[in-house]
Symmetry: C2
């Protein structure tokens, strides 16, 4: 995809996450497993999946961030690579559909309500 | 200040942080106290102090974020309003001086090394 279409959002996945466990050389890391599970989800329009190397939430991984231009950025943790890909797609779709990224509390997936690590307001446009 | 000069960075401070404590109506919240302490620090050039209402790191406040265009964003927690303003100014100055926001580990203030809550890569410019 070249450039980000208006309204597009990103799911950043920390693909180096070991979820607090040592990993043998042959293991696929939990973060990479979550990325692969999301890649198999047939993501809705205007949601881009992006692997990143460390979101520095190592004590509460697996970790993702949702972000997009003009939106609040949200970091979510404690994700399960085996089961949480559909939850993330649900939450990311609601995030995409909220122009400022602020999804009403009751509309958020239960895991997102309980495992928000941090959020950051959008950069203000220069005056 | 109108607009953000090139190379400028922001310290976002969660001014609603109660640091896990109930607060009486007359109390100044810990987050607001940290903001006020930073406001009294005579900040170096191109570092802007911005109060925000919630960075959603409520279990490990007081919380700040450092960010700037084209830079990694960092969230730091467990800050002490009474003592940590100079630490934050030191860390923010090093962050300002690193073009991508990536300050070498050994150069970071000790508190930043031990209390990084999350980091988020810069938005890529559209291709």
């Amino acid at each position: 995809m070249s450039g980000a279409p208006e309204g597009a959002v990103e799911i950043l996945v920390c693909v180096k996450c070991r979820q607090g466990q040592p990993a043998g050389d042959a293991d696929v890391l939990p973060g990479a497993r979550l990325h692969d599970a999301l890649a198999g989800q047939n993501l809705p329009a205007n949601i881009r999946l992006i692997p990143v190397e460390c979101l520095s939430n190592c004590t509460a991984g697996v970790t993702i961030a949702l972000r997009g231009p003009g939106r609040w950025t949200y970091v979510y943790g404690n994700l399960d690579a085996a089961t949480d890909a559909p939850v993330i797609v649900d939450g990311a779709t609601k995030y995409r559909d909220a122009p400022d990224g602020l999804v009403p509390w009751r509309a958020r997936p239960d895991h997102f309500r309980k495992n928000c690590i941090a959020r950051i307001p959008p950069l203000e446009a220069p005056e």
